[in-house]
Subunit: 336 residues, 2 copies
């Protein structure tokens, strides 16, 4: 983080016609963006949401309201431009980059970024989701992709994901890494009923016991309890930090990736911004564990990067405040 | 509210490629907008923020961090396009309509809407802010203005205000109307220190005793403890409801107007949307008293309509979700 650029941004903020600090997080965003980019007035117009798609072996335990076949179906929907994240990304003037990092189907499309590590994870209720090497390879996919996009000018990256069943590994990681009780960490995902929620908690309990992941080793937790798309997003976040770009974290699953990224590399934390507070039960605890405070409270629980993309507008607003507001001096307004 | 249009909107929402309800408040906004306008896919592109400006006699008690002369100075800043609300309204593609409804200065500008009822309120610590007739006249100003703008096609109205000292009358109204304890209702406004906060609470306590406003008579509370810009915003909200338009409520002061509007005409409540949760201490209790839940949590405390205008983007997003998302059928995605 560039402290000089942050100080310059703060000086400018305090010269604008408003009580100091009264624009709250808009001011914090402007200052953070300055620190990240090293520019007091950075151009953050090029933005992308990276939607990592992967399947989950644990779906065979019946933990989701939707069948696993929805993952490849939704990938095609992303590529066709009809999913919620496509609509909201167009609204925000952002690119959607869809990555097959672990879908359990053969997918081909000219705009699909094919980087499949394997066809879905193994069932975490019975053993490790993937090997440590596969987890590293998946992180590398996200990291390299961000490096490519950053080289072409993208400076804001939203994390997005698709993977039926992926609140289950995310909740398992939350329990393992942050020590949050199972009852608090595990929620309804896309909308399961009470009976299936109890069943889901039991499955996660088994996954935690069977895998006995080492909480001091975030890569171990990611490989044993995580998902390919989650590992890919860890790479996206680390890649953003390495490229002095902003990482905007979406909901519960993305925040699991942020939790791992922050544990692997605490110096990446200042490059993250939380976007929305999900309705998924464990999200508040997950964000607290990462140390992030969300901007919007829209009761969303869709994933895909939808909440993160909705917040692009607020990041743009912070930039415009810095560029366009009058100063006390220029407007002839008295200070307190 | 048009129940048929709301049902049509709900049917459409449930056909889109996402778990039912998973877009949370975006879905609620789409449905509410349908009920308000009577159209399942309303065009809400014409938007305006109405910034009512008025002064407060209670400033002579020294309750604000800023001198009262800042009110007219900021009005000129709004008209010059340099205030935060101007920047954010341009960002949202919305008009800024600035109204002098009670500034304690002679203001002239080709774009100023001059509807002065009187040059500021009287000091509420010593007696009524204004007469009942003046309060009604100020409500009328807001109401008529919205009728004019609605006739020209504006369908979304954000409430904005400028008036040094106006968290004081707003907090007084909150205590009087909602029975919230003084300590909870009264906050730091533009940023006063502990000593002045204690003083401000004492001033409000005196205002409540001196005026003995009738909590069952919201117009009595508004006239005795309120402000001209607050009364004007009551009219804006009632005018929006009468014109089947959306009223987007800004922060603490605007929410005081919403509280009065909802008490005067409960049938106007479904036409309101809360925008942001202000950092001003009493705002959470105020919104709860009105029955509204805010969309964004940006720790803002500026007023002017800035928080409301920031949420225009989310209202647009809800409309685009309704128009542009693929359905389960069109995208060939399996349902739960």
């Amino acid at each position: 983080m560039d402290l000089d650029a942050m100080e310059a941004a703060q000086l400018r903020l305090d010269s604008l016609t408003k009580p100091p600090g009264s624009l709250g997080k808009l001011e914090a965003i402007a200052k953070q963006a300055a620190g990240i980019t090293g520019e007091s007035l950075p151009d953050l117009s090029r933005k992308a949401v990276i939607v990592m798609a992967g399947d989950h072996g644990v779906c065979e335990e019946g933990i989701s309201a939707f069948p696993a076949e929805v993952t490849p179906q939704m990938v095609l929907n992303f590529l066709g431009g009809g999913a919620a994240v496509n609509v909201l990304a167009r609204h925000a003037g952002a690119d959607v980059v869809c990555v097959d990092i672990g879908v359990n189907a053969d997918l081909q499309h000219p705009e699909l970024v094919s980087r499949k590590i394997r066809k879905g994870t193994a069932n975490i209720a019975k053993g490790a989701a993937m090997s440590r090497e596969e987890a590293v390879a998946a992180i590398r996919v996200g990291y390299d992709l961000v490096c490519e996009l950053a080289a072409k000018g993208t400076r804001v990256f939203a994390t997005g994901e698709m993977g039926i069943g992926n609140t289950t590994p995310s909740a398992a990681m939350l329990v393992a890494l942050a020590g949050i009780p199972l009852e608090q960490a595990v929620g309804r995902g896309t909308g399961i009923d009470d009976a299936r929620l109890r069943h889901k908690r039991g499955v996660i309990e088994r996954a935690l016991q069977v895998n006995a992941a080492d909480p001091a080793d975030p890569l171990d937790v990611l490989a044993k309890l995580g998902g390919l798309e989650i590992a890919g997003l860890v790479g996206v976040i680390l890649g953003a930090a390495a490229n002095r770009a902003v990482a905007v974290i979406d909901g519960f699953i993305s925040s699991a990736a942020a939790l791992v990224a922050g544990r692997l590399a605490p110096q990446a934390l200042p490059y993250m911004m939380a976007s929305h507070m999900s309705l998924e039960q464990g999200h508040a605890g997950m964000l607290e564990a990462v140390g992030l405070s969300p901007m919007i409270h829209m009761d969303m629980r869709l994933g895909e990067g939808t909440g993160a993309v909705l917040c692009f507008h607020l990041i743009d607003a912070a930039g415009k405040i810095m560029r366009e507001m009058a100063t006390f001096e220029s407007a002839g307004v008295s200070q307190s």
